[in-house]
């Protein structure tokens, strides 16, 4: 079974919201690598990750072990990473009516916003989807519909196909309905913005500058949309520039009067920039 060579491999750092990716695997190890790259990158951006598994127990153990020592190891317990069984998500598809899955998609996107995440990313194991839908043609029809919905909702996804279930030129036809291949490896991101439930906010680790500050601001805004009292744990922030700090200042200034943005344990560098620029604000609290 050949994967179509003309389909490019995406760089996960540059994947825009709403991008519909696919991946093909023929072993559990390969699936784990693909899933882990996609999931880790999404969690790092502060997005919610929905993992749709053919076997949710197996998926839970796979993702738990891959998160293990990872900074996002709390993602499962705080709701940033959710695992659902394939049948629960796609249960009604065999009727040929996509409306219920579409509605489920929209509800998940809406719930993502309400839960304080800037975006939703979905990684789905497509295992026996073809058998479920009846034919490859039905799969292709759903993939086309999905591309449109995802673009509309800004939901990125990777559809992970088990090559052992695909016949003839099915892989090529399936691949053609996707923007690019999702890679089975990824460079570590410059910074991670992981959701924290208590105190409400984010844990920011790594370096923030012109390359990723928009993503950070987007993640903070999503947290502030749920509660305007947002804590940023900056213990592991290793660099920030003044452009980032001035954006944090603007964000704090725009919070309601009972809101605040707490910068917890910032590096000396951030305090130095504050002193030089005078970008203090009563709702931007530096502690300790």
């Amino acid at each position: 079974m050949a994967i179509p060579p003309e389909l490019a491999t995406a760089n996960l750092a540059d994947v825009a919201p709403g991008t519909h990716l696919c991946a093909f695997y023929d072993s559990d190890e390969q699936l784990a690598r693909i899933a882990s790259a996609f999931v880790a990158r999404g969690l790092a951006a502060g997005d919610r990750l929905l993992y749709v598994a053919t076997d949710d127990d197996a998926a839970t153990s796979m993702l738990s072990s891959l998160l293990g020592e990872h900074p996002s190891c709390h993602a499962l317990s705080n709701g940033q990473l959710q695992i659902q069984a394939f049948g629960d998500v796609y249960g009604d598809v065999h009727t040929g009516d996509f409306a219920p899955i579409e509605a489920g998609f929209r509800a998940a996107a809406e719930q993502t916003r309400k839960s304080g995440f800037p975006g939703l990313r979905v990684a789905a194991e497509m295992g026996d989807f073809a058998r479920f839908l009846g034919s490859c043609e039905e799969v292709l029809r759903w993939e086309q519909r999905s591309t449109a919905i995802q673009r509309e909702l800004g939901v990125s996804s990777v559809c992970q196909y088990d090559l052992r279930y695909l016949e003839g030129d099915d892989a090529a036809r399936v691949a053609a309905e996707h923007a690019a291949l999702s890679p089975d490896r990824d460079d570590p991101p410059m910074a991670t913005f992981l959701a924290v439930g208590e105190p409400w906010g984010l844990k920011v680790a790594g370096e923030v500058d012109i390359a990723n500050r928009d993503a950070l601001i987007r993640a903070i805004r999503s947290r502030a949309g749920v509660s305007p009292r947002v804590h940023l744990d900056l213990t592991e922030l290793t660099f920030t520039d003044v452009g980032t700090l001035s954006r944090l200042h603007s964000l704090a200034a725009a919070l309601p009067h009972d809101g605040h943005l707490v910068l917890r344990r910032p590096p000396d560098l951030l305090r130095r920039i504050l002193a030089i620029t005078g970008l203090w604000h009563q709702r931007m609290v530096v502690e300790p």
Partner: protein
């Protein structure tokens, strides 16, 4: 209280420490008598004698060792701006002198810009500023700087308007000549946002090899980030970072192919009200020993200097 907003900027060329103490002492005492806020940024060796001269008045003067106040030179602008902001309705009287003999050529260029920009940045502030110059060993270059940049001059006979005062914009223009990075520079192309973090590692590695200490490297890394971010945001490709030994200073030289800031007075003060933009060059000047900004046919050059201890 009436507020006389116009700033004055006076040069005093004194002969010997006795004249320094009596002239500067009288100047500070006058401020105390007028209930002004009074700040003296002078070399440590002169602080004690000034305190003795002022007697009880010394308690109403804020003394700062010039080594701290001028580290780096543009820090003195921040100190004065902060003092003015603390009490906007009271006149602030400042005496500011540093030991210029230890300054490199790049720092003297920046010193000239600093003296010129006092007349722009503080023009509408209630500031009375006196800059004492020691006639002993005063180079003709420094004497010329003192004559071009002060609205008034003071000597033993009194204070009078300075006929040789020059337009600050013209002084800056005269200092804007730039030279391309030398052939032995190590260079990095930086045309995308992701290149800024690469540039930081590049500066860190080479600055350590050049023998800069850790704090200075941290400051340079931030300054390079800011100037490169400006080049990415406002400049044009190709953009490059060149690192080299410039003699008395180690230089991080950012070049882009754009026209540069249209306003020659950019980045000598922070934005007046909090803003999402406009801090980069101000921050760089607060972090480096000297900053040159200039343009030529190839584009815009910003040189960030770090003094090398030899």
């Amino acid at each position: 209280m009436t507020r006389t907003a116009l700033a004055t900027h006076t040069a005093l060329v004194y002969g010997g420490e006795d004249q320094f103490v009596s002239s500067v002492g009288a100047y500070l005492a006058e401020g105390v008598a007028r209930d002004e806020r009074v700040l003296a940024v002078v070399p440590r060796v002169k602080l004690e004698r000034l305190r003795d001269e002022l007697g009880a008045d010394a308690q109403r003067v804020d003394f700062v060792d010039a080594r701290d106040g001028y580290r780096p030179q543009w820090n003195v602008f921040r100190a004065v701006l902060n003092s003015l902001a603390e009490a906007p309705d009271r006149r602030l009287r400042v005496v500011a002198e540093q030991d210029l003999a230890v300054r490199s050529a790049a720092e003297i260029r920046d010193y000239q810009r600093l003296e010129a920009m006092v007349n722009v940045v503080f023009r509408d502030h209630p500031l009375t500023l006196l800059c004492p110059y020691d006639a002993h060993g005063l180079s003709s270059e420094l004497f010329d700087i003192s004559r071009q940049t002060h609205s008034d001059v003071m000597d033993a006979t009194g204070c009078r308007p300075n006929e040789q005062f020059a337009d600050p914009a013209a002084i800056l223009l005269g200092l804007s000549a730039v030279t391309a990075a030398p052939a032995n520079a190590v260079s990095l192309r930086a045309d995308g946002p992701a290149d800024v973090s690469t540039a930081r590692r590049f500066v860190r590695d080479h600055a350590a090899r050049a023998g800069l200490d850790a704090d200075k490297i941290d400051d340079l890394v931030l300054a390079v980030t800011e100037v490169l971010t400006n080049a990415l945001t406002h400049g044009r490709p190709p953009r490059s970072l060149h690192l080299y030994d410039g003699g008395a200073t180690w230089v991080c030289h950012v070049h882009d192919s754009g026209a540069g800031p249209g306003d020659p007075f950019t980045g000598f003060a922070p934005p007046a009200v909090p803003s999402d933009h406009g801090y980069g060059l101000w921050l760089a000047r607060q972090l480096c020993d000297a900053v040159d900004v200039g343009s030529d046919a190839t584009g815009t050059h910003v040189l960030l200097h770090a003094r090398i201890a030899r």
